[in-house]
């Protein structure tokens, strides 16, 4: 059941992205940027946590969860240090994603050759 929910919710988020690309002629960079902002906004109203509760990886795998994690890290730090903590905490929770993207991206670039 959790697999089915992850599949359906994750798939539906991608469908929104596809519609933005096909109908609104947005580039992939515009779509992903908008989705990250949307994730942060939804989390601002506390909605994204509910979605993760419901769909599991269906909500954590799409790039929207990146916005949600950024905000979560910021708010956790703000609890301790006040508004200064917002800037301190932004990358707290997304560290794994960004650092692994840098690391693996770099390693693959060194080891492989573009195939065309």
């Amino acid at each position: 059941m959790e697999y089915l929910l992850a599949f359906i919710v994750g798939g539906l988020i991608c469908v929104v992205g596809q519609l933005l690309m096909d109908f609104c002629k947005l580039t992939p960079a515009h779509v992903t940027s908008s989705f990250v902002v949307a994730g942060a906004l939804l989390d601002g109203f506390g909605l994204y946590d509910q979605l993760i509760q419901f769909a599991g990886a269906g909500a954590t795998v799409p790039i929207t969860s990146f916005g949600h994690s950024l905000l979560h890290g910021a708010m956790a730090e703000a609890e301790q240090h006040g508004f200064i903590g917002i800037a301190m905490g932004i990358f707290q929770l997304t560290s794994a994603g960004i650092s692994s993207a840098i690391l693996f991206g770099f390693i693959v670039a060194v080891l492989f050759k573009p195939k065309g």
């Binding site: 959790e2 697999y3 089915l4 992850a6 599949f7 919710v9 994750g10 798939g11 539906l12 988020i13 991608c14 992205g17 596809q18 519609l19 690309m21 096909d22 109908f23 992939p28 960079a29 779509v31 992903t32 940027s33 908008s34 989705f35 990250v36 902002v37 942060a40 601002g44 599991g56 990886a57 269906g58 954590t60 795998v61 799409p62 790039i63 929207t64 969860s65 990146f66 994690s69 950024l70 708010m75 917002i86 800037a87 932004i90 929770l93 997304t94 560290s95 794994a96 994603g97 692994s100 993207a101 693996f104 991206g105 770099f106 693959v108 670039a109 080891l111 492989f112 050759k113 573009p114």
Partner: protein
């Protein structure tokens, strides 16, 4: 979509060629994006469950290793020249998941390998994916500040 003002002649041309232009297969594209996007998320769920079962992670923290694993897989698929083929098939289905982020990072780095490790690979790593981080950080900061002020006053 141009912001430039079109002349009447240009507008007339655009109208005239509309019936001659192929329409994107909207329904098919949506179906493919749904299938592949959903599949990637279901795989993510499987990876999550794996870390939950065999390692010391809980529901809150399992997102990190899951995302990192998906990024590793996507980076390798990019290196093997497979991810661009998936992308042509799936569209947003392989762009919206975090694997698309990994593909954007890896493909840009790989493409600029010919210019060296520092000015090629490293400098261009975030050429495409950087926008996501910029908009994510800026929007998280603004939303975070608003929420902080809101909590203070009410």
């Amino acid at each position: 979509m141009s912001k430039q003002k079109l002349t009447p002649e240009q507008q007339e041309y655009k109208e005239k060629i509309k019936p001659l232009q192929p329409k994107p297969p909207y329904l098919l594209n949506v179906a493919k994006a749904f299938l592949v996007g959903g599949l990637i998320c279901a795989i993510g769920q499987g990876i999550s469950n794996f870390y939950l079962t065999f390692f010391n992670f809980n529901e809150q923290t399992v997102g990190n290793p899951t995302v990192a694993t998906l990024i590793l897989i996507a980076a390798l698929l990019t290196g093997f020249g497979v991810y661009d083929k998936i992308g042509q098939f799936a569209g947003a289905g392989s762009i919206v998941p975090v694997t698309g982020f990994a593909n954007a990072v890896t493909s840009a780095a790989l493409e600029h390998k010919s210019e060296g490790l520092v000015l090629g690979v490293a400098t261009n790593l975030f050429k495409l994916a950087g926008a996501v981080i910029v908009f994510g950080a800026v929007s998280a900061y603004i939303v975070g500040m608003l929420r902080y002020l809101f909590q203070m006053w009410f």
